[in-house]
Amino acid sequence: MTASLTRRRIRIINQICWTLALCIVAIPFVFPFLWMVSSGFKSAAEIFGSPSLVPREWQWQNFIDVFKHQPFARQYLNSLYIAVTVTALTLLVSSLAGYALARMRFAGAALVALFLVSALMVPEEVTIIPNFFMMRWAGLVDTHWPLILLPTFGPQGIMATFLMRQYFLALPKELEDAGKMDGLSRLGVWWSIALPMSRPALAAVAIITFLNSWNLFLEPLIFVSSLDKFTLPLALSNFTDPYGMPLWHLQLAATSLAVIPILVVYIIAQRQIIESFALSGVKG
């Protein structure tokens, strides 16, 4: 009885020590976020005047001014629909292409895979100028198409394709055979068997793609010039006074609003996000 009590006490002390240690380690990670949110409620003067996390005077007006300064609601919606479209398209293209590369024997399959890998090795910044000329030739500059097409068919799409391919390779072939015996076509096997069995990989691709698209900055900067076509990362850098100096209180309030969808996604799919990083081998 005494021994068991002692063991329990040691376990509790152990837990407290670990929690404290983790809290201390978490401070550098959490503090910038808390500072950002609290600064969104401060006046421009107070942000740099007081290091306190609690505003002296809560400036709710900041969050109204964000929408007055530029068409922020429109820009928010732009980011949202572009991220959702890119995610849906990437899921479709990468799962189809990944399935073909994993399961279909066709002439030049190895060459296609080699081309894809080569494309991954080229930094995105290097291809941005040829991409710009291509989009200008197609009449797509200052539209949202480059922000949808480039991530879907660019390096992120290729990464997603490889991730799906690796997952499909691990699926038992007998299940596909069973599908064929049941009367499914190749596309039917993909839709009815391969996809439902690849939910973890699809979740990983969806999460990574959504986050990438949501945070995309370079492409909107290059391809979009109209204010009402801006996406959030671009819009956030546009909270400036007439002299080009940043309006920090508005910028930080807007940034606090911009992280809401990411936080919602994270809270809903916390487990899948961690699994997806493990599965894809990429960092968050």
């Binding site: 038992p172 055979d177 069973a178 064929k180 015996m181 049941d182 009367g183 039917g188 068997i193």
Partner: protein
Amino acid sequence: MTSLSLNNVKKHFGRTEVIRGVDLSVDDGEFVVFVGPSGCGKSTLLRMISGLEDISSGVLKIGNRVVNETPPARRGVAMVFQSYALYPHLNVRDNMGFGLKVRKVPIDERARRVMEAARTLKLEPLLDRFPRELSGGQRQRVAIGRAIVGDPEVFLFDEPLSNLDAELRVHMRSEIASLHKRLGSTMIYVTHDQIEAMTLADKIVVLRDGLVEQVGTPRELYERPGNLFVAQFIGSPKMNILPVGSVAKALPVRPDSAAHVGMRPEDLKLTDPGSGLVSGKVLLSEYTGASSLLHVELPDGEIFLVAYDGPTIDADTTLGLTIAPDRLHFFDSAGQRAS
């Protein structure tokens, strides 16, 4: 029910020929078992019949239809896989009804057929469970159920019991046998387990290197093996083979062409040293419960296996071995049966 025939059927993978011209006919309602060593092509042949592998040349008929180019689902065959191949994201009911759903069978008819198959296989309490919630035997029954609901003309089994433990395998074997009796369907079964082959088959097809070595009833194959390979492959423990020359004096009669003589371990009887067909020294005695398996070393170093059910015999005991003349098997120099 339907018959099936293969006429000079071949299969190449690139330059490698894995099925080298198979001729075979399977009658209505027959239970045919393909056996052979690993890599002999038995599973490939089954997959060619199912349509999962293309036929490089030759003709495959199911009923009176040539089905070389017919997709698997339109051949009237159903397959039970070694790994069961149940869809993990569907419950038992949906797994069994999936093929019917793909074929757009009305939902009422689908439910009726699934229930009927579930009743036959005693799967009713498991219908809402997922494959991960089932034992190996239950999964196997679901896999068979999935085949049954499609009401196929031919059932194909690809080593369906190899993932089960010994006890369950015996049980499932008898279930498959009674299912065949009840449905009366044509069934083709691939196994490397001789007991399964001998107990289930109406007809056994022994394959080696993509060729049929012999076709016959289990009794024919056991009692009159057509060649040395079949003689040694069918029967466990395997048949002892000696050159005729080494025992020529002791053999009462033999065909002129005989080059090898075969003796099944269970046909050999113990006798005094020097008085039988051969003599030798016991190297090892393996007690198996019902009997013992003696490893007897002959003077020329050859090891003979003898099934023996008498009192314990110690190692190093010298003994003679004899056999009834009608239990001897003779083979010519090409390895074919000599009669």
